[in-house]
């Protein structure tokens, strides 16, 4: 199979400089935002094991609609406070075959049988009842075994713990809300919902096949 991939990142140096100066100037603001965020986390904490969404959730990506505008990546980075120094939880990959190219936005696939969770020695990765796979950063020891186990190489690592998409639940998304990435997509390329909803919307979507049964569809 001759298909090539390129990980894309359109971030400019100007943007980085702007973000850095904003960070430097707005220390007090950040403290306030952090306090609000901690409050949100507390709220999310209560319903962590069940999760805020109704039913097993997943993502549906329509690569033919994706223009690689990076809005989903930006929204994810902003809401989850992923610094520029680390890879975002979501990224867009360019797939090319015989001169034709498609952009696919991917993040954690929130698999039905997540290999990351089963190999985690500390039991730090859990699957909530709504299907969201999340990491308990207070338990994570950072052995990086989850990266090796994940068929998609999703987990990334900060200096504190493993970091990956939790569908914005630990940041405080309320029931009914979509994660920020799906909300940010203006071209109908990235959809979030329960697997039933997604398949009803697009019955011939192709499921990405892996031993872990990903909740990720392509149409």
């Amino acid at each position: 199979m001759s298909i090539s991939t390129t990980a894309l990142d359109r971030r400019s140096a100007v943007k980085i400089a702007a973000a850095a100066s904003l960070l430097a100037a707005g220390g007090a603001c950040i403290f306030m935002v952090d306090a609000a965020h901690a409050e949100d986390e507390g709220r999310a904490e209560g319903g962590r094991e069940t999760g805020p969404y109704a039913g097993r959730v997943g993502f549906l990506v329509k690569p033919h609609n994706c223009l690689n505008c990076q809005a989903c990546v930006e929204a994810c980075r902003k809401f989850n406070k992923t610094p520029e120094s680390r890879p975002a939880r979501r990224h867009i990959t360019k797939y090319e075959k015989d001169g034709e190219a498609l952009f696919v936005s991917t993040s954690c696939m929130h698999c039905e049988e997540p290999a990351c969770a089963s190999v985690c020695p500390a039991g730090a990765i859990k699957k909530a009842e709504d299907g969201v796979v999340y990491v308990d950063k207070d338990r994570c020891i950072g052995c990086k075994y989850c990266y090796q186990a994940c068929p998609f190489g999703v987990p990334t690592y900060s200096s504190a713990a493993m970091d990956k998409c939790d569908c914005c639940t630990l940041g405080g998304t309320r029931p009914g809300n979509a994660p920020r990435c799906a909300e940010a997509c203006k071209f109908g390329a990235l959809h979030f919902g329960t697997v039933d909803e997604l398949l009803a919307q697009c019955p011939d979507a192709k499921v990405v096949e892996a031993s872990t049964k990903p909740s990720f569809y392509l149409a």
């Binding site: 199979m1 290999a115 020891i141 990086k144 090796q148 994940c150 990405v208």
Partner: protein
């Protein structure tokens, strides 16, 4: 070198090597002990200490690779998911470390003497205790050797590792490098307590059998990964890419030079020379062969860890969309 597995650095690779060699050395030392008895006490004790050091250093390396080593040290919490092979492995290595150390204490004259003074009747049951601990340790040692391969095998994201052949390869290599370590220790200690000719021959025969077996498993692993020229799935293509890295890519030089030549061909030739040659010549050959086996075993772990490329199952689905 770009394009190699780099999420796990050198520590896990060295841990897999030291864990395997320590476990193999323990088993080889027990073979020597059960054959030679108290005559070979000093060699057996030194081998057991070497095995304990290997496992302890291995565990420290594993901890040093963690993002939060201190949290990792709270093993009851950090290794509490028994569905994970890493949890199983951490506890089995820890248990092996404790039992190996106990066996070393019972086997060594000085510690055994001190225990005999304090515990009434210790002399009477010390041989039985040494034998029982030895058997338990051999089982634990074998589990450690197998586990070093299973740890990689149970990572479904990496096609090169996700095969039963990997624990087979690492187990054979663990025994091979373990025998080599005991041979080096026995040679260093030959003036104090030389091993009998028969025991030496048994070790050399073991080297021949293990090297031949390792060559066969290694060939089978690489051939099965390289697969057919037409790859059916992206996973098979990534497996083939990993095999190509080892056979003819960036890792080819260390693979052919260190793993195959230094680590397998040299020890095999040395063992054959030792089996047919005179004893003075044999000792030199055995020493070089054993050192080669250890270098090869270490290089093998690094190469397998570095060649563990990740698959991307999304490609298969996207290629359907691309027609």
């Amino acid at each position: 070198m770009e394009g190699l597995q780099d999420i796990w650095g050198w520590q896990p690779a060295l841990y897999l090597f030291l864990g395997g060699m320590g476990a193999g050395a323990f088993i080889a030392a027990m073979v020597v002990y059960f054959r030679e008895g108290d005559k070979a006490r000093s060699t057996v004790f030194a081998s057991l200490v070497a095995a304990v050091v290997c496992l302890a250093v291995g565990l420290l390396l594993l901890l040093s690779e963690l993002i939060t080593p201190l949290r990792g040290m709270m093993m009851w919490q950090s290794f509490s998911n028994f569905g994970s092979w890493m949890t199983f492995g951490a506890w089995i290595v820890f248990a092996a470390l404790v039992v190996f150390a106990l066996e070393a204490i019972v086997v060594w004259e000085k510690t055994a003497g001190a225990l005999a003074k304090r515990i009434k009747g210790f002399d009477g049951y010390a041989p039985k205790l040494a034998r029982a601990l030895g058997v338990v340790s051999c089982v634990l040692g074998f589990c450690v050797a197998v586990y070093t391969g299973i740890l990689l095998m149970s990572a479904p994201g990496v096609p090169l590792w996700n095969t039963l052949l990997l624990p087979c390869l690492f187990t054979v290599s663990a025994l091979d490098t373990g025998v080599a370590l005991v041979e080096v220790i026995a040679l260093a200690n030959r003036k104090k307590a030389a091993l009998s000719k028969e025991t030496n021959r048994i070790l050399e025969y073991a080297v021949v059998a293990l090297v031949v077996l390792e060559l066969a498993v290694l060939a089978l692993l690489l051939v099965s990964m390289a697969g057919s020229p037409v790859q059916e799935s992206h996973e098979a293509a990534v497996a083939a890419q990993s095999a190509a890295l080892i056979i003819g890519g960036d890792l080819a030089l260390p693979f052919w030079a260190l793993v195959v030549l230094v680590g397998l061909v040299c020890p095999l030739a040395a063992a054959l020379v030792a089996l047919v040659g005179k004893s003075d010549k044999a000792q030199g050959a055995t020493l070089w062969g054993a050192l080669g086996a250890m270098i090869g075993g270490c290089a093998l772990r690094f190469i397998i860890v570095m060649a563990g490329l990740h698959a991307d199952p999304v490609i298969d689905a996207v290629s359907q969309l691309l027609g």
